[in-house]
Symmetry: C2
Subunit: 312 residues, 2 copies
Amino acid sequence: MTYGYGIDIGGTTVKLGLFSEDGTLLDQWSIPTDTSEHGAHIPGDIAASILTDMKKRPFSGDAYLGLGVGAPGQVWPDGTASAVNLGWDHQPLLPVLERLTGLRAVGDNDANLAAMGEAWRGGGMGYKSMVLVTLGTGVGGGIILDGKCLRGAHRAGGEIGHIPVNPQEALQCNCGGHGCLEQYASATGCARLAREALSASAEPSTLRSLPDPDARAVWDAANAGDPLALRIADEYCAYLARGLAAVTGTVDPEAIVLGGGVSRAGQLLLDMTRAHYRPLAFPACKDTPIVLATLYNDAGIYGAMATLIAER
Amino acid sequence: MTYGYGIDIGGTTVKLGLFSEDGTLLDQWSIPTDTSEHGAHIPGDIAASILTDMKKRPFSGDAYLGLGVGAPGQVWPDGTASAVNLGWDHQPLLPVLERLTGLRAVGDNDANLAAMGEAWRGGGMGYKSMVLVTLGTGVGGGIILDGKCLRGAHRAGGEIGHIPVNPQEALQCNCGGHGCLEQYASATGCARLAREALSASAEPSTLRSLPDPDARAVWDAANAGDPLALRIADEYCAYLARGLAAVTGTVDPEAIVLGGGVSRAGQLLLDMTRAHYRPLAFPACKDTPIVLATLYNDAGIYGAMATLIAER
């Protein structure tokens, strides 16, 4: 048996996991992300934590496949990484980790790793191709084809949050465009749909007891049967379905996996999304399974390990 | 040097080409497509034509890579093919060709082969990944990643004609959906946009001298500076750009190649499409080249040969 470390660098903590190659998470822990001095200490901190862990293990050095590493930004082919949240602009990440630990290091951005993780041991397990759609603060994604991530020519593969879904949109998206999927299907977008719906009528709703209902409040109320919340949720899913139909008509994956905070809405989200998706989808893709992610915050470390295995 | 035959089966003729492996088309010809008796004679007719050609050549049997074959429908993993236009329902195609010619045969549908052809020796030459968008009677497409065609889990990879681009559409697409790209960006869709624009105003236009202007008439008039035709063309490109932005935000190819009859509109089509595409595209993909296909009706035989090489 061989082993490897999955590492997911976030803005406040770095998650680390020790995996066996068969996908068992043997141990996991986290360390704080030190963003001082443009994040210059982060690679060294990670290496020290790995070296400390390795000393505790009975494995010989050649039992390790290496380190898989995810960053909240871009990991470039030369192993440097750029991530605004961490202060990184071509920070030497993989070379420093390799030098300090003596282990091989591979890396990718966190959205791609989450997709690799869900494909390997999460909601997409068993599918040879799948698309992860992450419904969080923004809408991200990752496309897995034959066990490998489609990174794209400009590292924009799976950036499905910016598929245009509404030609009538007046407000600008963070990307500069108008009518991007992310403007509706993110948690932020869901809160906006709620504000608009609440101000458009005086219809009673449990949401009116909250000063500024967020996506979780909308879906909790919808799951509890609140009619206005159900309509907001339905509108949310109508936008999401347009994006999904564009994705399946393009890459035709075996499955779509919904992750991110909003996916905790569960079965209601799936049912409403499928109902809107089916009439929009190309006939051959109408029955493409739409399922929930299962790894949540651990998707990154699983995906880091999966990438390490895929790129051995 | 090795050689191969590229074969493109259409509804009225079968195109055949003899290629050397370096991409030189040494000879090309065609035979009629005999659709009688549910197209049962087609494989035998093709084999006879190949055997006749082989007798003329100085090459030994092992100089041939085999036959690449495109069908206007599906070529299944077992080598049978289904194509409504030909009367085929799991017609044994590749096995019969192999038995009669003694050569290996590989196949795919014609849209995928056209993409392989344009990537190999056409408008997409030199790009490692590209998407061909065929603007013909319908809107088809094919996605090439690292020299291979993304066929998809349900053989619907690259069916970008059915990406939803207009949530307000009342009319139904051939696929059963509403607001599919094909409803606007096909030649048929372009003619419809023209009908709508002509009936919406009494503005003078050279198009009014025609009983029912088709896509070619619209683009000819636009290229000649007719203001109404220019507005129709611009609307056409606005829809097309929405589809392209969805495609680049999903698979992020190195280039987009526009083919099919409407692509003969040339530079004006490119300029207008790029102008609409840029504000909609994800930032990293704004400068993705949008170029014209160059192989036209020969894309299929080139793609058949390219597939033969890719799957040797």
